[in-house]
């Protein structure tokens, strides 16, 4: 009995410590965002300021270009999530269900794309995209992000398809469906948790990407919010309050997105009760 209590209390203690460790930066973000400018440097390091204000949020929303960056980020991230999910669902299904000539080579190539640092590709990418007018463009970013996220997402989707027994499609095809019909009506509904997980993963990856967004798009018209955050860093000072306020606002869509797909994620963990 004592051992059990001890076991569970240390269990929760460790989880608690981890959660604290993981969430502390988030807490600091919110704390700084709520601290008025005059207290930011005068109060020293305190867990909570003596007075809070929403002045940074007001400034960011009304007087900065942040709303534009935010909108750009939404478009790019959602666009990337949709296009990667479509590509990776189709590709993952193909890898999971068919054997074809050159499949091992294709898989190897897809893995190779994941192996080298993206910095290496910035210059060639710029050279490729500039002549066709895809720099300083949200479309350009969506294409680049799709290209970089598709391989991993495809492997992810493949594992979800692998978990669905082949017999289900075969049963559907014998019942009178075409292969595509079986995919659409039987397999796709069962893969929704996987699709949601993949979409969520890709959305957050695109949402926080800085390197390409910074290098390919120089005009603020086509900047995403991670680039926008940098604009709070000037030559002489860093406006921490506004930067953190912008950061807090940037968390909202990612949180909302995960809130929406959460039930699919949870179902994804418990699904698979296909046969007895």
């Amino acid at each position: 009995m004592l051992r059990r209590t001890l076991y569970w209390s240390s269990h929760y203690l460790l989880i608690g410590l981890y959660v604290l460790f993981a969430l502390f930066p988030l807490f600091w973000l919110i704390k700084v965002a709520l601290t008025p400018n005059d207290l930011l440097y005068s109060e020293g390091i305190r867990l909570w300021p003596s007075r809070t204000s929403l002045e940074h949020f007001r400034f960011v929303l009304a007087h900065s270009e942040f709303p534009l960056f935010f909108r750009n980020s939404l478009i790019v991230s959602a666009g990337t999530a949709v296009s990667v999910t479509l590509v990776s669902a189709a590709g993952g299904y193909g890898l999971s269900r068919f054997t074809f000539r050159g499949k091992p080579l294709l898989v190897a190539l897809m893995l190779i794309t994941q192996m080298f640092p993206l910095v290496m590709l910035v210059a060639p990418m710029f050279r490729l995209l500039a002549p066709i007018g895809l720099t300083n463009s949200l479309t350009g970013l969506v294409i680049v992000y799709t290209a970089f996220n598709a391989p991993f997402a495809t492997f992810l989707m493949q594992s979800f398809f692998d978990a669905i027994p082949k017999e289900l499609e075969e049963a559907a095809m014998i019942d009178g469906a075409t292969r595509f019909g079986a995919f659409r009506r039987i397999i796709l509904p069962l893969t929704l948790p996987g699709i949601a997980a993949t979409g969520g993963f890709v959305f957050t990856a695109a949402w926080s990407e800085l390197l390409f967004a910074l290098m390919l798009n120089s005009s603020s018209r086509a900047s995403t919010f991670p680039v926008g955050l940098l604009s709070f860093v000037s030559k002489f000072s860093v406006d921490f309050g506004q930067m953190m306020a912008a950061g807090v606002l940037a968390l909202i869509p990612a949180c909302l997105f995960f809130f929406l797909i959460q039930r699919y994620l949870v179902r994804g963990l418990t699904a698979g009760a296909v046969k007895g």
Partner: protein, 354 residues
């Protein structure tokens, strides 16, 4: 109801041959069981009939139509899978209705068909449930229901009872047999379980190594196995096999074993001194009679009867009887091997005609 004709059908996966020129004619309304150990190609053959595997060579006809290049949906067959393959996101009723909806059957007809099938299979109260809320036996019934609502040209069963426990398997076996009698549908049933094959089949097709070993009624296979494989595969406890030599003593055909000699009643076309494998079913060995002496190794009471393990001059035999003889382990027992119940196989394992 349609006949299924398989002629010269082969299957290779890459360079690996799986099936070698299989020829088999299944009559309309017949219940044929493909039986064999795993890897013998029986499931592959079934999947080729269903259209789930391509045919490497040969022809498959369903109801006279060549179906080699037709997709599964165009073959009008129904299949019950080992894993049941129920659509987990659909209710029992929707699972059964799916094929009819794809055929644009009028709603009222779908309803009638589902209720008729549900009544037949005792699924009435479960129609609104999802597969995950069903027991193994209930899932199996739904899989059957999904097949019968369509009234297809033929039913294909791929080890449908393998995932059930022994008692339920016995029960469903009887139900499948009854269902077949009611519907009279052409059925091809794949199993590795020889009891299922014996009890269900009009005709058994015993397969091994991608070849058909023997085709015949269950009792034909049991009473006159064509070769050593069939002799050893059909029947439980399995047929006893031991080596012996053939000779003609005083002009009479005789089997010579280190522990005994047996004089055959009728002659056969064998050379003097030919090496044979002799088979005898456990229930044909008579204990407590005859002149052959064996040592009792082990006694297994099954309740129904007794299985006695015996050794005689290095040969192990199992004898089965419905009685409960007072056998002592280690003691000697006399036994008789009635010659009319012996099966003789030549050096190639092929049955010797007598």
């Amino acid at each position: 109801m349609s006949a299924i004709d398989i002629s010269g059908v082969s299957k290779r996966f890459g360079n690996t041959p799986i099936l070698h020129e299989i020829t088999l004619a299944v009559e309309a309304g017949e219940f044929v069981v493909l039986v064999g150990p795993s890897g013998c190609g029986k499931s592959t053959l079934l999947r080729m009939i269903a259209g789930l595997e391509e045919v490497s060579a040969g022809e498959i006809r369903i109801g006279g139509t060549l179906v080699n290049d037709l997709p599964p949906k165009a073959r009008d067959i129904a299949m019950v899978f080992q894993s049941y393959a129920l659509y987990p996101h659909m209710s029992v009723a929707d699972n059964m209705a799916y094929s009819l909806r794809l055929r644009r059957t009028p709603k009222q007809d779908i309803k009638t068909a589902i209720h008729a099938a549900a009544a037949k299979l005792g699924l009435g109260p479960l129609l609104e449930r999802k597969p995950k809320a069903l027991s193994g036996g209930q899932r199996q019934r739904v899989a059957m229901g999904r097949a019968i609502v369509r009234r297809p040209k033929a039913f294909l069963f791929d080890e449908p009872l393998s995932n059930l426990d022994a008692r339920l398997r016995e029960h469903m076996r009887a139900e499948i047999k009854k269902l077949h009698r009611e519907l009279g549908a052409t059925s091809i049933y794949v199993t590795h379980d020889q009891i299922e094959a014996m009890t269900l089949a009009d005709r058994i097709v015993a397969m091994n190594g991608g070849h058909i070993q023997q085709v015949g009624s269950p009792l034909e296979l049991y009473d006159r196995p064509a070769n050593l494989f069939v002799a050893g595969f059909i029947g439980s406890p399995a047929m006893n096999m031991f080596p012996a030599n053939f000779s003609r003593r005083d002009g009479r055909p005789t089997l010579v074993h280190p522990a005994f000699t047996l004089t055959l009643e009728d002659d056969c076309a064998l050379q003097d001194g030919a090496a044979l494998t002799v088979g005898i079913r456990p229930e044909h060995i008579e204990l407590g009679a005859g002149s052959i002496q064996g040592i009792v190794d082990l006694v297994e009471p099954t309740g129904l009867g007794t299985i006695a393990h015996l050794t005689l001059a290095g040969t192990s035999l199992k004898a089965f009887g419905l009685t409960r003889p007072p056998l002592m382990v280690g003691a000697s027992v006399s036994l008789d091997l009635p010659v009319h119940n012996l099966h003789l196989f030549d050096a190639d394992g092929v049955r010797v005609r007598r």
